[in-house]
């Protein structure tokens, strides 16, 4: 078994016990990149020399007998919308093709304090708008389980690299499912924390009231450990939560006896792939066997969530993306006058989906349509949230599929934006309500594509999600299985 196949917590123990060096580990992952990155294409920037220098420094520290932190010397990848000082951050957009942030995002500062090995920046849908990573202005990323399929999105590079073994862990961001859905498609663990848990400072803004940074990992143990690192109040983000951050690793407990799991009937209808339904229901049965109590619940406004999300998110995006005006940073296309320069810059440098969402957003916000669309969507957001509040009076967690289908083929849906939006039916309601949610692997389709189980928690109750996820994970073997790619397994 190669080193790249192991999760971070196993590698951490190996480093501590001097069974392996950080340089040997980093070299093995870089070798894996050489072997399969041509097929997967998860990365936009690879920082090979810096990675090896970071690994060397960690080995020197270990040689001196110093203690090391959890991620110290463990190679990881960062989604390209999280600002990294001195390392290009493009958001997979042409408009930020040469943008080198002068500062680190707060989540990045917290990660860097651990002395990890940063392998580079990973691909995504441009400005995190999309669910397939096909909207990257540079290249699509392929699913390691079948390179004809998408890895999901928008954090497709994060999930694909963790699944392919070209990173051990990754950071992603989730606005409407962008961590959970690619985790589901790639058979890895992805968590969207409660809104406000992780600072958004330095996360390139898409929809500010919905965006959250979160971990993408091989297993639940790594997820809890990385969550410990990135959470916490930050005065640089006015929406940052002041709630106390628990030690999430204390929730890594195998026990769901008496846990009340809500099954929302609205998440199991309309166009759901029968294999997904069957696999998710089998996972729920397993929970029952493990001692949990299954409760049928209803979240009646679920069917309105997509509409509300695709009005609110584009409206916020239209506003946030005004900053790309060719003046203070980003690309510029010259023209004789100021408005002409801005218009040319934005028209030539934004991709199709980004432009479409800016147009929808500004339409929904414009005089005459504001009440019918934007205001209405914000009211429906209240109703979606109330559904969860009612449900959580009866249950501890809610479980559902993460996505209605396994990974689809590259090119299959790209020409039909609405069809692509409907893929987000199971993930966007959480973002509207600010709730935490995790996707963990729970089986495969007949054609061998991973299927994800989504676990939804109360606000600020990631611990119950982690306990439920860990208990199931330990009863199965999915977290030890990797995509058959480049001759492994």
């Amino acid at each position: 078994m190669r080193l790249y196949e192991k999760p971070a917590h196993v590698l951490h123990d190996m480093l501590v016990n001097k069974e392996v060096t950080a340089v040997a580990l980093t070299e093995d992952v870089l070798k894996r990149i050489d072997e399969v990155e041509g097929d997967v294409k998860a990365y936009l920037t690879i920082t090979r020399d810096e990675a090896l220098a970071q690994a060397k420094a960690v080995d020197e520290k270990i040689a001196k007998g110093e203690t090391i932190s959890f991620l110290e010397g463990i190679p990881g990848a960062i989604k390209d919308n999280i600002c990294t000082k001195g390392i290009k951050t493009t958001c997979a957009s042409k408009i930020l093709e040469n943008f080198v942030p002068p500062y680190d995002a707060t989540a990045m500062t917290k990660i860097k304090a651990q002395n990890p090995v940063i392998l580079g920046k990973v691909n995504m849908d441009e400005f995190a708008m999309g669910g397939s990573t096909e909207n990257s202005a540079y290249h699509p990323t392929c699913n390691p389980w079948n390179t004809d399929c998408v890895p999901g999105g928008s954090s497709g590079g994060s999930a694909a690299s963790v699944a392919a073994g070209t990173s051990i862990w990754a950071l992603g961001s989730d606005t409407g499912g962008s961590i959970r859905q690619p985790a589901s498609f790639c058979g890895v663990v992805g968590l969207k924390p409660t809104y406000g848990r992780v600072s958004r400072y330095g996360l390139v803004a898409y929809a500010s009231s919905l965006d959250q940074i979160g971990p993408v990992t091989r297993d639940v143990t790594d997820c809890a450990n990385i969550l410990n690192i990135i959470c916490g109040h930050d005065e640089m983000d006015s929406t940052s939560s002041e709630a106390e951050v628990p030690d999430f690793t204390k929730a890594l407990v195998e026990d769901v006896k008496g846990l009340k799991i809500g099954l929302p009937k609205e998440y199991f209808v309309d166009g759901m792939d029968p294999e997904v339904e069957k696999t998710v229901r089998a996972a729920i049965e397993k929970y029952k066997e493990l001692g949990a109590e299954i409760v049928d619940i209803s979240l009646p406004h679920t069917k309105y969530a997509i509409s509300a999300y695709y009005l609110i998110a584009p409206a916020e995006a239209a506003t946030n993306l005004q900053r790309y005006d060719g003046v203070s940073y980003g690309e510029r296309v010259e023209s004789d006058d100021l408005v002409g320069m801005m218009t040319k810059t934005r028209t030539e440098k934004f991709g199709e989906e980004v432009k479409r969402r800016i147009v929808i957003g500004n339409y929904a916000l414009s005089a005459g349509y504001y009440d019918a669309y934007y205001l209405k969507a914000m009211k429906v957001r209240t109703l979606v949230q109330q559904d969860y509040t009612e449900a959580f009076k009866k249950v501890d967690v809610i479980m559902a599929p993460t996505a209605p289908t396994p990974a689809f083929k590259i090119g299959e849906m790209i020409s039909d934006p609405l069809q692509m939006y409907l893929q987000d039916a199971c993930t966007v309601p959480l973002n509207l309500a600010g709730l935490p949610g995790m996707s963990i692997p729970c089986g495969y389709s007949a054609s061998g594509m991973p299927i994800g189980l989504q676990i939804i928690g109360k606000a600020l109750d990631e611990e119950t999600i982690i306990r439920a996820a860990y208990t199931y994970e330990q009863s199965q073997n999915y977290h030890n299985e990797m995509a058959k790619l480049g001759g492994n397994n």
Binding site: S307, D336, R346, Y363, L375, L418, L435
Partner: protein
């Protein structure tokens, strides 16, 4: 069609985007499909529902007004497409 060509071009101007004439039909078709789907919202009576901007309770955040180190001019200008003498440079705005 829910959106007219005129609406589309107005929104494009507000968005500082140019939509070429041969692109209009494609845009209108996609917008029509998306907005028609979103009409399901109108079936809901939301008269007495308060809008939610942030899902979790938010308060305005205040801090002391103290001088702290911030990004220097050079770093702040480092990504500017065009700069001169420590300023961002843009095409001429005012007429002679």
């Amino acid at each position: 069609m829910k959106v007219t060509k005129e609406d589309l071009q107005n929104v494009a101007v507000l968005s500082r985007l140019a939509i070429a004439e041969d692109q209009e039909e494609k845009y209108l078709g996609q917008l029509d499909k998306i907005l028609t789907y979103m009409d399901n919202l109108s079936a809901l009576d939301t008269t007495d529902v308060k809008p939610t901007t942030y899902a979790l309770p938010m308060q305005n955040v205040f801090r002391e007004d103290v001088v702290k180190e911030s990004l220097g001019r050079e770093a702040a200008l480092a990504n500017a497409p065009l700069k001169e003498d420590g300023y961002f440079k843009v095409p001429k705005v005012l007429e002679d």
